[in-house]
């Protein structure tokens, strides 16, 4: 039974695309067949983060408008033969597809893949609505900042209104040392406001900047803390019961295991 999961956030620049690329790669590492779909039509960049920009011939809008078959538009990843990208169109805008188009498209993808991850555009307009139209479940990405959390709250309300079940939360770019100095919202602060299940915490990691610029996903780099966090989230998505690790930004310190605080990720038992 394949699953369609949309990654969204409300606010831009919090790490939706990086999360989609890394979760897609981490699921493929587990031997699963994965499609990642860039639903940010007109502002595509999932292809850039995955280093596949120069291989695009057809895109999502070409498929929807019948100029090519789905298989022709899917681009195989450089490292994982079972990971495919469906790129967004760059020369069109959000009006080029409808929610029904997206539902039809995801149903086609379900036939061939175990997981379909959809990278949503920022915002609450048509692009976001299209991105969640075909989804079975939704992951919300936020950073521990007031503005990002506020937008995440808004998005959660909309996801619930569209009856997409209970979304789960990724807290991205956490800086544990800033939290311990009281300069950044803590995991508990964010969860207190959003009141949804946490599926993972990704530490702030400068290596992510270089890896996304190079078009290499962080999960391939064993030394990357963010990459390890994404690999853990992928295991939880697949249903494993993995306690949430907060990888500290000081490599000399022991990782703090959040299970000790009574916060545990919930597997996908739903």
């Amino acid at each position: 039974m394949s699953r369609v999961i949309t990654i969204t956030s409300g606010k831009g620049g919090v790490g939706k695309t990086t999360s989609t690329a890394n979760l897609g790669a981490a699921l493929a590492l587990q031997g699963l067949k994965v499609a990642v779909v860039d639903a940010d039509i007109g502002l595509r960049n999932l292809d850039v983060v995955m280093g596949l920009e120069n291989r695009i011939v057809y895109d999502l809008v070409d498929v929807v408008e019948g100029r090519c078959r789905l298989r022709q538009a899917l681009i195989k990843d450089k490292h994982f033969p079972d990971l495919c990208l469906l790129p967004a169109a760059q020369t069109r805008d959000k009006d080029a597809v409808t929610a029904d188009d997206m539902i039809a498209l995801t149903n086609q993808l379900r036939a061939e893949f175990d997981y379909v991850l959809i990278d949503s555009p920022a915002g609450i307009e048509a692009g976001f609505r299209n991105a969640i139209a075909g989804a079975d479940e939704v992951l919300i990405v936020t950073t521990p900042e007031v503005a990002a959390v506020r937008d995440a709250d808004r998005i959660i309300g909309l996801v619930e209104a569209f009856e997409k079940g209970h979304p789960r939360l990724i807290i991205n770019r956490l800086k544990p040392r800033m939290v311990s100095r009281g300069e950044m919202m803590s995991i508990e602060d964010v969860l207190q406001i959003l009141a949804i299940d946490l599926i993972g915490v990704v530490p702030d990691d400068e290596q992510i900047v270089t890896s996304t610029n190079r078009g290499e996903v962080a999960v391939l780099d064993r030394s990357s803390r963010a990459g390890r966090a994404f690999a853990e989230i992928a295991r939880r998505l697949a249903g494993e019961d993995v306690p949430i690790t907060v990888f500290d930004d000081n490599p000399g310190l022991l990782n703090r295991i959040f299970g000790a605080f009574g916060i545990r990720a919930r597997g996908s038992e739903r």
Binding site: I124, R150, D151, D153, R154, I156, G157, L158, Q192, I193, A195
Partner: protein
């Protein structure tokens, strides 16, 4: 005295009942003053206008719609048993339905609305009576009540009690940290600083909004509580 205009909250939103027997100009006058008093309550709301079996001419309907527009109200539908009124409404581009009297909100006998969930940013809870929220009201959310507002949780959004003009209402919450407090025609900004850590209540004292701990309020103000 017969009620010329009544406001009810229902499952499908606010419902304006206009007395079907009284003179049209009286009804319209009552509606005008009601809308004037509760300007902030109604602002931007979508309402169903229920005119019962009254027959409205196109001119009367235009008057009614003009009044609605003036007060930034959107008529989502006109409910009427009169075929004539419904066709006048359709001609004016308003959705018309036969009256369905069975619409009742899940409310207690005294007209309170019970909300058992987190009210999130961008969501609005609006009701003509009291509102009780079991859960948090997050920043960016709005709660607008004709009566009092009780939040069994953290109140961080914007709240307006007595939005139809009633000053004898209260707002209380386990953690009262709203963006803005409004009671009737008064507005207060939340004080800066950290959470107090005990339940508080806001009410009108003289001509301003006062906030104090629930325990103190209970001891000093109301011996009957």
């Amino acid at each position: 005295m017969t009620t010329l205009v009544a406001i009810k909250g229902g499952k499908d939103g606010l419902r304006l009942h206009l007395n079907e027997a009284a003179g049209w100009s009286d009804v319209l006058g009552a509606l005008r003053s009601q809308l004037g008093q509760g300007a902030q309550f109604f602002n931007g709301a979508r309402v169903i206008i229920d005119i019962g079996n009254r027959s409205l001419t196109e001119e009367q309907l235009a008057e009614l719609m003009g009044l609605m527009h003036e007060h930034h109200l959107e008529a989502s539908a006109l409910a009427s048993t009169s075929r004539e009124s419904r066709s006048a409404a359709r001609a004016a581009g308003v959705v018309a339905r036969p009256v369905t009297r069975s619409i009742t909100a899940p409310e207690s006998p005294d007209g309170a609305l019970f909300v058992w969930r987190t009210v999130r940013s961008g969501q609005i809870v609006r009701h003509h009576g009291h509102i009780t929220v079991v859960g948090d009201v997050n920043a960016g959310a709005e709660v607008v009540a004709g009566g009092s507002v009780v939040v069994w949780g953290r109140l961080r959004g914007t709240v307006h009690a007595g939005a139809l003009g009633d000053r004898a209402v209260i707002i209380c919450a386990i953690e009262l940290r709203p963006m803005q407090l409004r009671i009737a025609d008064l507005i207060a900004r939340a004080p800066d600083g950290a959470a107090i850590g005990h339940p508080e209540v806001a009410y009108i004292d003289g001509d301003q909004i006062a906030v104090e701990s629930w325990e103190r309020y209970r001891r000093s103000n109301r011996s009957d509580l």
